[in-house]
Amino acid sequence: MMSWMKWVPILLAAVLLSPLAAPAAGAAANHYCITCHGEKTVINKGAHLYIDPVKYELTTHAKIGCVACHDNVTKRHPADGVRPSRAKCQDCHSSVFSEYQQSSHSQYAGCTDCHKPHATKPLLAVSSRDINSQCAKCHEYSQTVKSHSKWLPRAALHIDALPCITCHTGSENYFITLYMAIKASGSPLGGFNLADFDDLRPFLSAGKNAETMIDSDGDGAISVSELKKFNTNSRYRNIILLGTMMPEVVTHSYQILNNRWDCTFCHVSGSKAQQISYLAFPGQDGAYGRMEVEKGAILDILYGTPDFYMIGFTRSKILSIIGGLIAAAGLMVPILHGTLRFLTRNRRKEQ
């Protein structure tokens, strides 16, 4: 009995690795591949052979399966000594590839320099910090701030708050994404870092996700009253919501559209795309989930997003009117007093 059992994994692999079984069975075959490639001991044979099972499971590539890209893997791998093939990125991502080839980046970096095929995440599942850490591999932070300071006011603030691809993009529109940030210990003045799941774990009941901290009614959306509860809850006093702008679509041209040089492309009230906002929650797996925020919440100064403000854009209409009334009251004094002064000029001359 034992003698035929040893053939079970090989038979299973034969079925699952068959090109005919992909891609439907491809994802299922991953399990077989990960059995070895998900073990850290495989690093002894080559660091590139290790695949983090948790990160890989989140990728779109996991859905199509290992053999979709490594299609010459045989039933006898690795005993057969055949080096598995690697599909080229452009085999599937041809339009992205041709767009990227036209950008100046293509001379310096290939696809996998930024996107690890076994760990890549969709745009919505990454934070702006994750995105910028990719850029920072080549574009050193202080140099980036220095070069942007030549024309961009508050360059460091912009670079800290925004993913680089917010400006270096072909995307016409943006949406606002709010991230939870937690106060860094030992930093009384500044020091708020983007919170990951481990940072938020002390605030969560067992088995609960980070979204339960704000989405108290569990309806899958964030209302202004839920933001109020979160912002006024003393338990969360060291957690704030920081906002950033994410491009609506991902492009690989990295061009700066002409209107982006004009500050008022962003710093202006009224852009419809910017009125849409989401809250990004860090998941246990390192990826971010997101939830839609009630429209107008970013304009509510008391309860919406007290720690996110973009001049010219998130101004409160009510306070703008109050300010206008204060200014108008000041103007009325010379007008009214001056009118009476004019009307009584003869009487004052007599005196």
């Binding site: 500044g190 010219g312 204060i326 000041g330």
Partner: protein, 218 residues
Amino acid sequence: MSPDTTMEKIYLTPTPVRIWHWLNALGIVTLCVTGLQIRFPEYANIFGTYKAAIKLHDVAGVTVSISFLIWFFYYLFVARNLVKLYVPNLDDIRQGLFKQAFFYFFAYFLGRQNPHTATQESKFNAIQKLSYLFIMFLFLPLVIVSGLLLMNIEPLRGWIVMIGGIAFLADAHYLIACSFFAFLCVHIYMATLGHTPFSHFRQMWTGWEEVESGGRSK
């Protein structure tokens, strides 16, 4: 002013204070205009680009902050009459405020005399004292501190969060600025109430004020 009244000149405003005043005036007008463009860029494009408005706002803000410090230290340590000039005394509160308000809003139109006499020791009437007290010791420090915080958001984020967040800070800065604009309107108008419409302006430029001899300032 009766036809037989003679005028005499008194030196009312020392040079450092006049330099501070005009520097401050230029700064605050610049801040109001650039601030208008910064808050309402779609309605007010005065300086061409938003960036130009921001940079000018920063420069004017720092200038006003420094000139405020010069003013404060000058009066506190050199002239040593800060409290005497700017803090209303008991007489000001009991009678001065009412008398002065009555003059501005009623007696002035009848051609009556200003109840306050301007001297080097008592430059301001009760209403001026109270207004300048609020402006110089409350509104100006608040607008300077909020402005400096807004210029340094990242390094001072912890403090900004502690005082209620950046949205609160930015809107408070705006509302105080609107109060400054209101004050400016009243201040400039009131400066025309001298014995000629430009006499107070001239005084703030030369330092010398014309007052009725042995009598009232205008």
